[in-house]
């Protein structure tokens, strides 16, 4: 019985984290008219869990899963609007950024590369590094890379 509960719970959590996130093995699907890709890179020395994003338009937040130690590109398929990176769990701590964290506007029909977050204790900095993002995206999702970026995106 316990196994079934654990299984159901883990499936639900996996569902929550993968609703918007495009993983390397997610099936390819076209963007709807009001949807865009929202991408950013996390550079961290410790594994981050339950990364939280706020949808400013609806004032609701959702989780997009984890980021392993090192560089992780995160691409989400979301409806057009303003989104903010507001926090994450690390070890047994919860980090919530002040004032809604880091926000940007995601446009429909585009791949909206936001920035690269360098997560260090206690400060997170945001600085775009587009070439690093392209490198990561083309190794994980060459299809999206080719469709939206137009660089040499063959993996």
């Amino acid at each position: 019985m316990k196994i079934w509960i654990y299984l159901a719970l883990s499936m639900t959590l996996a569902g929550c984290s993968s609703k918007y996130r495009i993983f390397h093995d997610s099936p390819h699907s076209l963007l709807k008219l009001n949807e865009g890709y929202f991408s950013f890179v996390i550079d961290t020395l410790d594994a981050l869990r339950t990364i939280e994003i706020l949808n400013v338009e609806t004032d609701t937040s959702f989780y997009v899963g984890n980021a392993a130690k090192g560089y992780t590109q995160i691409t989400l398929k979301v409806p057009e609007g303003e989104y903010c990176f507001i926090g994450f769990d690390v070890y047994n701590l919860r980090v919530d950024y002040k004032d809604k964290g880091f926000c940007t506007y995601v446009e429909a029909g585009e791949l909206n590369y936001f920035t690269q977050f360098t997560v260090r204790n206690p400060v997170t900095t945001a600085r775009p590094n587009f070439s690093n993002f392209v490198k990561l995206l083309k190794s994980e999702r060459p299809d999206i890379c080719k469709e939206f970026i137009n660089k040499d995106c063959s993996a």
Binding site: K100, T104, Y105, E107, P128, F130, F148, N150
Partner: protein, 181 residues
């Protein structure tokens, strides 16, 4: 001492007058507007306001606003912006210089086919001048405070613009024709 103060005052005030008279790349806005404000204005069909917001952001390096400028210069805005394919082409190339996208690239290719050889040469020169002085690759988003666009639009509508012999039409900024810094 008094003389020194008077000279200083004159110098400061003359500097202020100079600033006001100086032609601008973009029309001055009273507040800072982030990219989202331009989108909101565009959705409300307040195209002149949206153009002014994007123009200010484009000269600060927002590549999305630079692409919007390209689109506005391609289509033009009634009684505000004349279509100008050279400006459209140059803004599109600036927007795609640091952060590449297939969509922008296709737009550039399409525009290029509409330019003749003379216009291509002219736009190449303008592009290399502009890209050296206009920053790019940025996304200028601040935490968006809901802007009362209705109020701003109402204020805009209260300004009187005369046509005919007392011509005083709304004029767009000089923009890329001459770049002031």
């Amino acid at each position: 001492m008094k003389l020194l103060v008077a000279i200083l005052f004159l110098l400061t005030s003359s500097n202020c007058i100079g600033e006001d008279d100086k032609p601008r790349n973009c029309n001055k806005l009273n507040n800072f507007f982030p990219y989202k404000a331009g989108i909101v204005a565009e959705k409300k069909e307040a195209y002149t306001l949206s153009f002014d917001i994007f123009c200010n952001l484009a000269f600060k390096g927002d590549y999305r606003a630079q692409f919007k400028m390209a689109k506005y210069y391609k289509s033009g805005i009634d009684e505000y912006v004349e279509p100008n394919l050279i400006y459209a082409y140059v803004w599109a190339r600036i927007s795609n210089f640091h952060i590449e996208s297939r969509k922008r690239d296709n737009f550039i290719k399409q525009l290029k086919t509409s330019l003749n050889e003379k216009e291509k040469n002219q736009s190449d020169k303008l592009f290399w001048t502009a890209v050296r002085v206009i920053p790019g690759g940025a996304r200028i988003d601040m935490k968006y405070e809901p802007i009362d666009l209705e109020k701003i639009l109402e204020k805009q509508n209260h300004k009187k613009y005369y046509t005919g012999s007392r011509i005083k039409r709304k004029t767009p900024p000089e923009n890329l024709g001459i770049i002031y810094f």
